[in-house]
Subunit: 257 residues, 2 copies
DNA sequence: CGCCCCGTTGAGGAGAGTCAATGGCTGTGG
DNA sequence: CCACAGCCATTGACTCTCCTCAACGGGGCG
């Protein structure tokens, strides 16, 4: 479960003992191959998922087959709030690389939140961050040019990946096709291809084999795409909110079966 | 607080006594004039807000002054999860009509969640719905034409407004300028004007004075804009999840000061 | 070897943006 | 009571980003 710990570690530092209820969580480990569905629109989800390895996408298919990727699930990401409310999924989740995923029954997960203030607080932050990433995605698609969108997305993925794995790599291996990037950013694959070619020519990125992307000059790309990490809320809580987190956790008592 | 009750009533039916902890909540009532900020980007929020009357927008301003409206806050809407984690707001909230808003200290609010399974469950649903609305906004902007976007947004606002106020009006008074609609949908005011004119000519909507919009044929507009209410999750929970909601509530114990 | 998926590139088209002028409505002040 | 300012919607003309259709080529894999 250490990716999750690493990711949360960007926000709070917990002692070994504080992680105990989490480590002892009754869980399953499932492997999904690239292309497998973790969740299909319409499913009733009763589990919380934590990505251990691999990338997955959350997306909606439209009536005519078009696809909109809503966001990306990276190692360390937890989902889904939805499962705690016994609602049907309104979108699908698919692995885009081989994924190792921890699957935890919603009620077991909620029991854990109840038992630990610091874990509840950490989970709460994770949910807040996820929602914030959604809002940023709206801004990105609604008001930015193709080049800004792509640069901004690459920087977000890089930042999130580094944050979760601790590997501060210059070179990010992005397992995304042009079609994936297009469907995430409201563009067409053709235009993504053209724009990324231009970005290569402008020495903003370089690409190796197998989706290996290197961001040549991070500051320059960040400036051009107006990328600012504020929305990722990468900083510690006040102490007070740990107490509040546990309260929130406990207020969820009734959500378990 | 009855708007909130009405809105939640679409989802769960609670008895008078179940609402008690909510009714007794220590709160302030604040009035904001059109144009007033409820929250500014950068603020540290320590309150939960519930809109009683009026409309507000949540938006981000870009470096160059462009604006992206992330979503609309209508009567009955509650925000903000963020406040429970003591994080800085990464966006602003502004009243676009005169708004009456209930302001509740985060820790007081969390105490209430802890004390009642059914209220925690109701609040949880509200948070899930809000996130779902964000995802739908991404799909709308990313993959739909101008006419679809506008039709879809109008139908969502209509449905949400009716759900919260109980007034099943044909005529929805939308206090939005073309610039507001444009900033929400990733368009320009000029193009919104043109598109809405075309929609009037096509007998999809009619407009009266002061932003009064009537959706002439709801089914037809829904078909054309591919609007489906599924993502609003307007249906009852299973009984089990009430218990789980309370658990989640309690797990938040530590979040209160 | 041949297929399929993917990225690339070209040509042409369309939807949405920009710039700018006009006119209505509202509110304010002389 | 009228004049004027300010805001907003509308419309026209022109531009540009991004889309569509299509062809080609490379790499992985059976």
């Amino acid at each position: 479960m250490s990716v999750f710990k690493k990711r949360l570690g960007q926000y709070v530092t917990l002692g070994e003992d504080e992680w105990l209820p989490f480590d002892e969580l009754d869980h399953q480990e499932q492997v999904f191959l690239a292309g497998d569905d973790l969740v299909q629109a319409g499913d009733e989800i009763r589990h919380v998922f934590i990505v251990k390895e691999g990338w997955a996408i959350r997306y909606r298919l439209l009536e005519d087959g078009r696809r909109q990727i809503v966001n990306f699930m990276l190692p360390g990401d937890v989902f889904d709030l939805q499962s705690l409310a016994d609602l049907k999924a309104d979108h699908s989740l698919t692995a885009i690389t081989e994924c190792k995923v921890l699957v935890i029954a919603s009620n077991v997960f909620v029991d854990m939140l109840q038992s630990s203030a610091s874990l509840a607080s950490a989970f709460w932050w994770s949910a807040v961050q996820e929602e914030s990433i959604l809002r940023e995605q709206i801004v990105r698609i609604g008001r930015r040019s193709a080049r800004e969108r792509i640069g901004h997305l690459l920087l977000e993925l890089h930042r999130r990946f580094v944050g979760a794995t601790g590997m501060d790599v210059e070179r990010l291996t992005v397992p995304l096709t042009r079609a994936d990037i297009a469907d995430a950013l409201g563009l067409t694959p053709v235009h993504v291809s053209r724009t990324m070619s231009a970005m290569r020519r402008a020495d903003l990125i370089t690409e190796g084999r197998g989706g290996e992307i290197t961001i040549v000059d991070r500051d320059k790309l960040a400036r051009l795409s107006h990328f600012d990490t504020d929305y990722l809320h990468l900083k510690k809580l006040h102490i007070a909110s740990d107490r509040r987190a546990q309260q929130i956790g406990e207020s969820h008592r009734g959500l378990a079966d």
